[in-house]
């Protein structure tokens, strides 16, 4: 037995100890427990991965649900896909935990933060290690819970608690789809175990599999912030930056991609659903990229970038190249976590300023942050030999193989990606400093993880995930390498960088003139296409109004209270009538006695007569 249960159990122990006793511990003790548990988990995961042979490791712990012929066990499994996810989650997670020591050093609720982070690691690892859909769903829901707790970490800020609520509720909508899919799977396959469902997928009718696949896609859209359920992710930037890096860049939002990749047998036999995965991914990628062009808050730019890059992962998976989607998941974890942590470093240097219009000229003042962020920016723009180039090209080639127009839109989006990331870089680090703070470099606890992630962004592409996963996704056809396509996508990235340079460094006035000339389009994009306002008017307000008027006043106060109070009033009425009998007047009592006895005699005589 590999004792796989230790991998999630160690962070859970950290959560319990820090959560219950952390208030009394010193910061060093809290750090040791939190980071130690995650590092140990990483080591254990590494050991499990290294001992992985050809067959997956499977461990059964106990039977959770036994109902007739339906069984769900608490089972963990490690195969090649799990191995990638495990190392990304624990590895990047450890780096972010270390970073948090520096970032959260002056914050209140220090132990609570690390307790929640550990709890998140527990749930994420359960999700990744699960060998059946129900256990995956436990992890799925759990990371949603931790996302809510961590987004609303500064709970005295109304905007933060609202954002936490929004994240949880929008996630729930996706979870509804996921639950329906699980129910359908139980009905069709009689089991939720991956080992039972996937081999039997070939024999089911395509319509059934398409329904299941589309419902799973709804769940994935909720968790991985795809259109139309992406609205929670930009608001989730209310949380502390390490949270944004860990949960909303590297790990939780990738759960949807992981789940779709894991369910690849179902998707391969439901091509319509797979096409929808690609379409939604592509649309989201373009949509979010356009919004990212105009944002002024540095974290919002990266949030929309995350939504866009997740769209790329969905595009890759939806084009049938599942391993390229997972490849991009890994490289994205490296450079997106780095982007967020670097942004956090900038924010920390400026004592909380997040608006890029009040930044500038920081590259001499915080050089380590500058250089590590530069590595991330080059990686996300898809410039070789950095990591993003390999994974993004794998996806774009697969998209071309599926339909050339998807490749072209994807390439234009890559250009936009490069543009907005470098816009952020130039606005932050070049030019003159436009703010009023005193920027200072971050402590080593923050800069060392930045450096580690920068290194991974540089060389991470050489970890050949598609080859590693080749034995796992057997039916996927990898697209042939075509040099011209690769060159065009790299050129798009370079053009994006150059355009950003021209507009924000060489001729700064150009940016404002373009914005004013584009007028309506600029306003549309700056206001995120008013999607939040549309949702508010179409969905939120009617639900709230119906709840208030129909359900609260109508049913609860009117019907139910009316029924219960009505019984009371009726009792009072009957009592009032009966009270008239007791008049205190002896003569009326006498009359009633006579009256009653007459009736009695008549009744008895009638009964006697009929007998």
């Amino acid at each position: 037995m590999q004792q796989l249960w230790l991998i999630p159990a160690l962070p859970f122990a950290g959560f319990l100890i820090n959560g219950i006793f952390g208030r009394r511990f010193s910061k060093a003790a809290v750090n040791a427990i939190a980071i130690g548990s995650v590092l140990l988990s990483f080591v254990w995961a590494l050991e499990a991965v290294l001992s992985l042979g050809d067959a997956p490791i499977f461990e059964h712990y106990f039977d959770w649900i036994v109902a007739g012929g339906f069984r769900v066990g608490c089972d963990f499994t490690v195969d090649r896909l799990t191995a990638v996810m495990l190392l990304v989650v624990t590895g990047v997670g450890s780096l972010i935990h270390i970073y948090s020591i520096g970032y959260m050093a002056h914050e209140g609720g220090y132990y609570r933060f690390f307790a929640y982070l550990n709890l998140f690691m527990f749930f994420m690892l359960t999700l990744v290690l699960a060998a059946n859909y129900l256990l995956l769903f436990v992890g799925w829901e759990g990371v949603g819970l931790c996302s809510y707790l961590l987004i609303g970490f500064w709970f005295h800020k109304k905007s933060a608690t609202n954002a936490g609520n929004k994240a949880f509720i929008v996630n729930r909508i996706g979870d509804f789809g996921f639950s329906l899919a699980m129910l359908m799977i139980v009905v069709q396959f009689g089991s939720l175990d991956f080992a039972t469902v996937f081999p039997a997928a070939a024999g089911k009718p395509e319509s059934v599999l398409t329904s299941i696949a589309m419902l799973l896609l709804v769940g994935a859209c909720g968790k991985s912030a795809q259109f139309p359920l992406y609205v929670w992710l930009p608001d989730a930037m209310e949380g502390p930056t390490p949270v944004s890096a860990l949960i909303h860049a590297a790990t939780m939002v990738t759960a949807g991609v992981y789940m779709v990749a894991r369910s690849f047998p179902i998707y391969l036999h439901a091509p319509t659903a797979l096409t929808w995965v690609a379409y939604i991914g592509l649309f989201t990628a373009v949509f979010a990229a356009t919004i990212g062009l105009a944002q002024n808050d540095i974290k919002k730019v990266f949030a929309y970038s995350t939504v866009s890059q997740l769209g790329y992962m969905f595009l890759g998976v939806g084009s049938g190249a599942f391993s390229s989607g997972i490849y991009h998941l890994m490289t994205h974890a490296f450079f997106k976590a780095l982007l967020f942590l670097g942004a956090g470093s900038v924010i920390h240097a400026l004592s909380g300023e997040q608006d890029m219009r009040l930044m500038g000229g920081l590259r001499k003042k915080i050089p380590v942050t500058f250089w590590t962020l530069m590595f991330a920016a080059i990686a996300i723009s898809g410039i070789p030999p950095f990591a993003g180039f390999f994974s993004k090209d794998a996806i774009l080639l697969a998209a071309y193989h599926r339909a050339p127009w998807m490749y072209w839109i994807g390439t234009i989006t890559a250009g936009m990606t490069a543009f907005y990331v470098f816009r952020a870089m130039f606005l932050t680090f070049f030019g003159e400093y436009r703010g009023h703070e005193h920027p200072h470099e971050s402590p080593p606890a923050m800069t060392v993880p930045l450096a580690a992630l920068a290194l991974l962004s540089l060389v991470g592409g050489f970890i050949r995930i598609p080859a590693w996963l080749e034995s796992f996704f057997p039916a996927a056809a990898e697209a042939p390498e075509e040099f011209s396509l690769v060159a065009i996508s790299v050129a798009a990235g370079v053009i994006g960088i150059f355009a950003a340079y021209v507009m924000y460094v060489a001729k700064p006035a150009l940016a404002d003139s373009v914005a004013s000339r584009a007028g309506a389009f600029y306003r549309l994009v700056y206001n995120k296409y008013f999607v939040d306002e549309i949702y508010d008017a179409v969905v939120v307000k009617p639900v709230v109004d119906i709840s208030r008027v129909v359900l609260w006043r109508g049913v609860d106060a009117g019907l139910i209270d009316g029924a219960v109070n009505g019984i009371g009033t009726q009792s009072q009425g009957i009592g009032g009538l009966l009270k008239l009998l007791q008049s205190g007047n002896i003569r009326s009592y006498a009359t009633w006695v006579v009256f009653g006895s007459v009736i009695l005699v008549v009744a008895l005589s009638l009964i006697g007569a009929t007998r």
Binding site: Q582, S583, N585, I586, A590
Partner: protein
């Protein structure tokens, strides 16, 4: 030998009973009400005896004894109550005994 027909006894019993009820309902004095109750009981006694003579059975006689015993006991208790009430209120008017009225 012509006896008194049964019907006449029964009619007499009915008339006495009605008079008793009328007195029970319409008289003011408590003692008169009690006397009316005794009258009702005796009317029923008469009816019992008449039937027992008619049917040549002794059941009616026996039952009459029971009724008389009950009447005596009831009279004793009732008069004790009347005495106590009179001591407290100095009136025998049944309409003035209405302290249970709200």
């Amino acid at each position: 030998m012509s006896g008194v027909p049964l019907a006449w006894y029964l009619i007499l019993s009915a008339v006495l009973f009605s008079l008793g009820i009328a007195g029970f309902l319409f008289r003011k004095s408590v003692i008169t009400i009690f006397m009316s109750i005794e009258l009702m009981l005796n009317a029923v006694n008469l009816s019992f005896v008449a039937f027992s003579y008619q049917l040549k059975q002794v059941n009616g006689h026996i039952f009459t004894f029971f009724v008389m015993v009950v009447a005596a006991a009831e009279a004793a208790v009732g008069l004790a109550i009347i005495l106590t009430v009179f001591k407290n209120r100095s009136t025998l008017n049944v309409d003035e005994m209405n302290s249970m009225k709200d």
